[in-house]
């Protein structure tokens, strides 16, 4: 028994250092469990998240993750050194921001709300309109968006190649110099693939802890899965079908008109359709919808209860009035706000890396 305790203590002491392996010339390769995206399997039950899908050409390593984390919090990726990924995807705001839409360089307001980074690794397509097919492709977008980070990819690469600390780290991670934009976005994506929330009361309930949910939350889960019709779109382990729907949301914010997915596909059926966001940790990041037009989860449910927003001719056929009573709305919101809010301290309490600790 004493020997077992000894090995256990040894394992605990060794594990963190081997996982971090920072500064070691030999990188710790993190297990790439799967490359299968859950959405390719079709509509399925809500449940525990499977391992994060990792693309074969960008395997996870501890050093790459750490490098990506530094880049994520580094404002030098923006044109005027004021905006980082964290500015709009803040861990303290549920990996989104206060909204309603995001603010970029020079205080410019973007037309849409920042989608959460947490669990974004499960999205088959990124951005509200799905114009990026991977986290890597997504990471290129904001850097060169004039309203967001206002930079060019060439400038980003030039800036990073001018920072010896980054040059050294990139060399250790990728084995080559100079730094390329492909390496930059691969590192950021690798970090984002670690931002996964797996320990909500719902997750514990699914794993067998029948006391993890209160009776009200259980009622809310039944409504989520039934009368509320939520799982028609918010299905699967990440509570999203990864597809695009027009909810009839009345456009607000800087954009008078937002065509959504249509601007990517030019398919009339996609007019005004936006990607289904995950409901995991939704309670941490009001307001809601692509334009942040719904301030609370209660108003979100009210929108659905009315059968969507306005009489949009392209309203998704899944959107119908629900007939939910006040008590049912209360239960449903309790499930979303409390039962789906994770308790993953390594994700929820990620602190920005101070400028003084970023590579120089």
């Amino acid at each position: 028994m004493k020997r077992a305790k000894y090995f256990l203590m040894l394992a605990v002491l060794i594990a963190p250092s081997s996982l971090i392996a920072q500064g070691s010339p030999k990188q710790q390769v993190l297990p790439n469990i799967t490359t299968i995206n859950v959405h390719s399997l079709g509509p399925q039950r809500i449940g525990n998240l499977p391992p994060v899908p990792v693309p074969p050409d960008n395997p996870q390593t501890s050093m790459k993750v750490q490098l990506g984390k530094q880049l994520y919090f580094d404002t030098r990726l923006s044109k005027d050194n004021t905006v980082s990924c964290q500015t709009c995807h803040d861990p303290a705001m549920g990996w989104s921001d206060a909204g309603p839409t995001s603010t970029g360089i020079h205080g410019q307001k973007g037309p849409r709300r920042a989608p959460p980074v947490s669990n974004a690794a499960y999205n088959p397509l990124q951005f509200w309109d799905g114009r990026a097919a991977s986290l890597e492709e997504q990471a290129e977008g904001p850097m060169q968006n004039p309203v967001e980070m206002g930079n060019t990819l060439d400038n980003v690469v030039e800036t990073l190649n001018g920072i010896p600390g980054y040059v050294e780290e990139f060399k250790q991670v990728f084995g080559t110099t100079p730094i390329t934009i492909a390496q930059v976005v691969q590192a950021i994506a690798a970090f984002e693939r670690t931002v996964v929330t797996t320990d909500s009361p719902f997750d514990r309930y699914i794993r067998g802890d029948r006391k993890a949910l209160t009776p009200l939350e259980k009622q809310g889960m039944a409504i989520f899965n039934g009368k509320g019709h939520c799982t028609a779109c918010h299905w699967g382990p990440d509570f999203s079908d990864g597809r695009f729907h027009n909810l009839g949301v009345v456009q607000t914010g800087p954009s008078k008109v937002d065509n959504g997915r249509y601007d990517v596909t030019h398919n009339p059926a996609d007019m005004g359709a936006f990607k289904t966001p995950t409901v995991r940790d939704a309670g941490l990041r009001p307001p809601y919808m692509h334009d942040g037009s719904e301030k609370t989860l209660e108003t979100v449910v009210d929108l659905y209860n009315r059968g969507g927003g306005d009489d949009d001719p392209n309203l998704d056929p899944l959107i119908v009035p629900l007939g939910l009573s006040k008590e049912e709305v209360k239960a449903l919101v309790a499930f979303m706000r409390v039962a789906l809010t994770s308790n993953n301290p390594e994700v929820a309490h990620v602190k920005p890396i101070p400028v003084s600790e970023l590579p120089k």
């Binding site: 509509p43 399925q44 039950r45 039944a222 009368k227 799982t231 597809r243 001719p313 119908v320």
Partner: protein, 419 residues
Amino acid sequence: MKKLYVLILAFIALSFLVPETAHAIPAFARKYGFTCTMCHTAFPKLNDFGQRFRDNGYQIPGQEGYEKNVFEIPPPISMRTPVGFSVYDSKQGATSGFNVYGLDLLAAGVLHKNISFLLIYTPRIDEPAGDYAGPNNGANPSQLGSMESANIVFSNIVQNALNLRIGRFEPAYQVFSSHRSFYIMEPYEVYTFTTPANSYLFSDNQMGVEATGHFKSGFKYGLGVVNGNGGNPDNSNYKDVYLNLVQIIGKGDGQSAGQRIGVFGYYGWQPTVLPGSVVAPTGETNGSGNKPFYKLGGDVSLNWSTLNLEVLVMGGNDDKALNTLDPTKDYRYSGGFVELDWAALMNNRLIASVLYNWVTPPSYDNGRSINAYSALVRYYLGDWTAFNVALHGEYTYREIGTTNPTKDNLFTVLVDFDF
């Protein structure tokens, strides 16, 4: 002793009162992990989502091509049966008994993108040996074995505008489905009303092919060509056709939200001479002397909160050659029903409903006129995924005939389970 016979006869009559069992398909819920109220206001009545799911060939709208097919999921088999106790009281006397009121065995699923199927088999319930004392020479089961549905659906042939259902199916003109009614004991009388020499039954599932379409404007249509003989061999060389048109006003599909108005028409043929001399390998004979009949009707479904008011009115006309009661004139009748359903409690765990049925035959057949008043309460024991149990209480008071009508009461309590 005479009274005993009367009671036995009354009890046997009770078994004929039992309509076809209704169905819900928990196999779908198992596939997705849904609870019943995803597709049903409360099982078996479809809500708007369930109606659109059905209209889309048992695929979630927008998920065509991504759905797991039947080979990738647990066996897509479901079962539903109501079991309980009935008290029947008429002027002949009263009787009561425990009964199994029906059994549905269902299989359904997606075979391939936009190709799906539905099978419903209703086996004979009681033991053949148990019929020895029956007046119909042992041919009096509570439920005859029947392949109630066996159809394949080709969806979205032209987007939402053309879907085909082939086989035996519930025709689109049954906008208020007798198979998915909350009422287990009391049928929609006008659906089951038979005319003198016409084997067509409005409530029957029919064999043939049906085209349906639904549009963003809220317009829906159903157009079918069928034998018109339910599950029986067809002995008419003419086929029946029908058309129903529906317009939904407001958001929803008219089942649980939005307002729906529709019209329908059925035009069929029945042979007056049968059987003929030609017997096909599939069992049909060449009945001849075909004469026409038709049915026309309209329906309205109004929704407010969790209240749903359903009204259907229809009339029928059979050619005088089919009118054995008075061959000098066509047989004409009318009828309909008004039903008000209310869903209450969390997740629609309680259903309360009232229903009025009427059928008005021609004056020379007024002994078969019907006025029936029904009410029911259903309580669902849980919010489980893919199965449920309902406690069901239903009462009907019915008058048959206008002069010195037959009056009867039927009270039933049962447990209705579906998984």
